[in-house]
Symmetry: C2
Subunit: 380 residues, 2 copies
């Protein structure tokens, strides 16, 4: 391979925009680093030193070069620089334990896809799992994460105190970390990717009131584990829902059903008892990802006309939505993108030295039978 090629790989470029006739627009032409040097009245070596923050440049020259780089909207050839580096990066992703097809497998698949696409940049990724219903399990996982000596960590946080045990250690070692799903501002992740839960609950309320404007009573199917609501997300969506209802339709009665969602006998008993006392309730919501399970329960109770709003595009949820089995709307939050962009943000921070946006709310996507077919293809 000749020198010519090497130059094309390792020389940073910049763009200028040349405007021509209104009917045609020429965008953009490349200009070499030597053009910057000419404009700044310095040598090519000086520009190169400024670009790579190397010493040996006078303050005045450095300032001149930086000013011109800025004016020209300069973009370094980041990929080539990173490819030329031999540095290896190991990321650890700490998520709730899950089965294939459950919500978290999409997050994981997104993280893996990004790692896969970035494999030219020497990135590897380890998964560590904790049991989200067992705090000890999260605390134990901290050691597993630290033992891997990661260069960056992605995690779905639990409550603040225990999450802090991990982030304190990471901060001490100056290891950057990213939160997905729910955020804890105080703990200062370099980035957060997740839904604004309260607005998402408000959207569920709006759709409910569109389905049945004069609604008198609605039921919320909760997933409860040892007396507490399963996740931060589920809880915050419910609060957002209640607030919207109080404001826009205060006379509607809200009742709740506490389900285990892993114990059918128990759940069916609870459902039966509820509907004995509330036989006129024909519409409900669930703020977790198990709408399909509630639909199965409802069908055993011969409640085929009961209408349900749920969350997340698990395969079974989508199937029930398409077939019109109870589920009218699903609200989605692009878990695959959350995983993907979490890895991207670590790469941008560590490898490409790009600025990373700290708070990244995901879209609140609204799916029904009419648009579900065209949703998944793009987002996977």
């Amino acid at each position: 391979m000749g020198d010519n090629n090497k130059q094309d790989i390792f020389t940073p470029y910049l763009y200028i925009f040349l405007y021509q006739l209104p009917m045609e627009q020429q965008i953009p032409d490349r200009i070499r680093i030597k053009d910057i040097a000419i404009m700044a009245g310095v040598s090519v070596g000086t520009v190169d030193r400024v670009l790579h923050n190397r010493p040996g440049v006078s303050l005045a020259s450095a300032e001149k070069v930086r000013k011109i780089l800025k004016e020209m909207n300069y973009q370094p050839n980041m990929y080539a620089s990173a490819l030329a580096s031999n540095k290896k990066y190991h990321f650890v992703c700490l998520l709730p334990k899950h089965n294939e097809g459950e919500y978290w497998s999409d997050v994981e698949a997104g993280a893996l896809q990004c790692m896969n696409e970035m494999h030219d940049f020497h990135i590897t990724l380890s998964m560590v799992y904790y049991d989200q219903y067992d705090i000890d399990s999260f605390v134990k996982s901290i050691k597993l994460v630290m033992d891997k000596e990661p260069d960056g960590v992605i995690l779905s946080p639990v409550e603040e105190d225990n999450t802090k045990k991990l982030t304190d250690m990471l901060q001490e070692k100056e290891i950057p970390y990213v939160f997905i799903d729910s955020n804890i501002d105080n703990l200062e992740p370099i980035a957060f990717f997740g839904q604004n839960s309260s607005r998402s609950g408000a959207l569920a309320a709006k759709m409910l009131l569109m389905i049945e404007p004069g609604i008198k009573e609605v039921v919320i199917f909760r997933q409860i584990y040892i007396g507490r609501i399963g996740t931060n997300q589920q809880n915050n969506r419910e609060l957002g829902f209640e607030e919207y209802m109080r404001k826009n339709h205060p006379d509607c009665e809200l009742s709740t059903i506490d389900l285990a969602m892993n114990n059918k006998e128990h759940d069916m008993e609870v459902m039966r008892k509820y509907f004995e006392r509330h036989e006129n309730v024909t519409i409900g919501l669930t703020f977790n990802s198990k709408a399909y399970l509630i639909s199965e329960y409802l069908q055993e109770l011969d409640k085929n006309d009961f209408r349900l709003i749920g969350y997340d595009l698990l395969e079974q949820n989508v199937e029930f939505l398409k077939n019109g089995n109870n589920i009218q709307f699903l609200i989605a939050q692009q878990p695959h993108q959350q995983g993907y962009r979490a890895v991207t943000s670590l790469c941008d921070h560590l490898i490409f030295h790009k600025e990373v946006e700290q708070i990244n709310y995901m879209p609140i996507d609204l799916l029904c039978a009419e648009n579900i077919d065209y949703y998944t293809s793009l987002n996977k």
Copy 2:
């Protein structure tokens, strides 16, 4: 730079997945080309020749190597190979002429962003515009496109006969082309990116029936130019809407208002006349991107309670949606992504030699005041 670095840049890698304890999963470790050679029982040079389709390998060895590459789910280091090449690519993007902030500026911005991100691969992009209401203008633009001797072309097609004049020339020169917005199957683009218009019209109908289940009459605001509906998309959405209404709510009367949308005096006159005869109509749709303009007309007629469903997230549409000015729902189709992915598909085809999916329906996104804030940030 030492040989060591070169090897890291130009040697293809592959992945293997090592599964460990259930609590931890190691994904993936890199294995060098020499591991493939060992597994196939051939030399490293032989593997390299097979990877780059170079001669000098026996059929039997080539087959053995290919079998192992396939088993190992081999991924070539495409970026490094492409970076090492000196080939330059010039793409031309042929779109309807538009003002800043109109629908097409998002498509253009997406195409430019992708070109920008791929600038390490020597890509440039020229814009050529035609007047979508003047067929002569499209025909004239054909010469402008061909004069640029493009390596690939992106275009938003007009009707089949005139579009074919361009695609025939491109086919003759074996220049690949991509359609955006609407598709003409017969003309065999390497890829199409756009919405399924008829399903999108059905979604509009569904939302209409949710807003007003007992609706008796609805009006469609059309953008008409010299007697014909402005675009393929607008027309096909309307057909999808009508079909859904016929099937689900056949007694609803459909009326239409033909507007120029660039002649306020004319349009207001038409609106006034319509509402003199149809004073009970309080809900309507428009299948083009000018919902904000119709809302402005409606407000001049003191019809602040008139409800409107529209398309596309133009700045003014979004503002009206947020403020509750007539617009209840907007249906969007990710124009930025259409432009972005059109450029990606040309790169994949020409530079990375990846297979390109031919039909790519974009999501049919449903936006209202409750979820609009979180939509735009991700999709730009």
